[in-house]
Symmetry: C2
Subunit: 206 residues, 2 copies
């Protein structure tokens, strides 16, 4: 059986949970957090030299890090990866955009807002910079979603699952999604899909 080392409040950990739920795959959930040091213990560093979650443990005991790499691996051979080569290339474009432009502004601003131990890092200058960079990333998404249902191709792909992870609650970090009507409609579209689960969802104990 698959095991997912995961922090429940993390959008990065939510991404593989959401895909696993859609794929109806059984998995064991092991909760840990970078906030209490559990991701940097010797045991976890042996599993993931980068000392982070999420981390996927395959049935044979081998490990895979990086949330978007898990999405690609788990989705291989399913409809969550577009068959058309250009659509698939655009899906990858969005996955890399998510880790470079979106997560480092939108997820980080959320973390600085809600985690008390990070409050001292939330200087006015940093928060203003993150707001500007996050709104720019949302603007890039809006350019696509203002007249398309999905980010890559004509069906929901892992690009949508990945970007949903930190977009659906971007308001927690101070982002006003009502400025981006294409994104707002897309967030609702994803939440309305059969098989969708929210960030609080956990699999039944295995």
């Amino acid at each position: 059986m698959l095991t997912l080392y995961s922090y429940q409040d993390s959008g990065n950990s939510y991404k593989p949970r959401l895909l696993l739920a859609h794929l109806d795959l059984l998995f064991r959930l092991v909760e840990m957090s970078s906030r209490d040091g559990s991701t940097r213990t010797p045991d976890h560093l042996a599993r993931n030299p980068n000392g982070k979650v999420p981390l996927l443990e395959l049935a044979d005991g081998r490990h895979l890090a990086e949330s978007n790499a898990m999405l690609v691996h788990l989705a291989e051979g399913t409809g969550f990866i577009p068959a058309d080569p250009y659509d698939r290339a655009k899906m990858f474009e969005w996955l890399f955009f998510e880790q470079y432009d979106h997560e480092p502004s939108i997820a980080v601003r959320r973390a600085l807002t809600v985690y008390p131990e990070r409050a001292e890092l939330a200087t006015p200058e940093r928060m203003a910079d993150l707001l500007e960079r996050g709104n720019r990333a949302l603007g890039v998404m809006e350019t696509r979603l203002k007249d398309h249902d999905w980010l890559a191709g004509e069906v929901m792909s892992i690009a949508d699952i990945s970007l949903y992870g930190y977009t659906h609650d971007a308001h927690v970090g101070g982002f006003d999604l009502s400025r981006f009507p294409g994104i707002e409609a897309w967030v609702k579209r994803i939440a309305d899909q059969p098989g969708h689960v929210g960030i609080d969802w956990r699999p039944e104990a295995a």
Copy 2:
């Protein structure tokens, strides 16, 4: 024919140039730079709403952004993507690691060191933080490369091409690669491959 919008000094732009050279694919090079504003003109924003290079223009006029998405697209069906599903998953893990942990520390510290217009951003605190985070990323690579020739599987893949982009001249940004003998040997291994080209290489004018 393919067109690559590219900034010659950028490791991100070097990555697709290096793969295109290995694949012996003809392409037209259009040089532009974020440093002179040419990547944020209306013309370029129409090509790439994210206003960046590199940007790949396919023969049919459609566009693809994100250097690592270009590597995946161009390498499909070639030996630069491992056939084994786990090796391929690890290749993606390294590609996402590159954009999240490696480039934002190692490439950014290099840019703050060599581009005069960014010197005022190079505060001692920021440079110390980037050094620490970059050395941590190099440490993750060393964990793999100290006893393996390649990052994913047993042959050179686009993970190696991607990480080479900003690792091969990390010393310019103040990183001491002699602390990472596995990385030093891997850098030399890549440079010794048939078909390798350096960051200064340009295709002959088409």
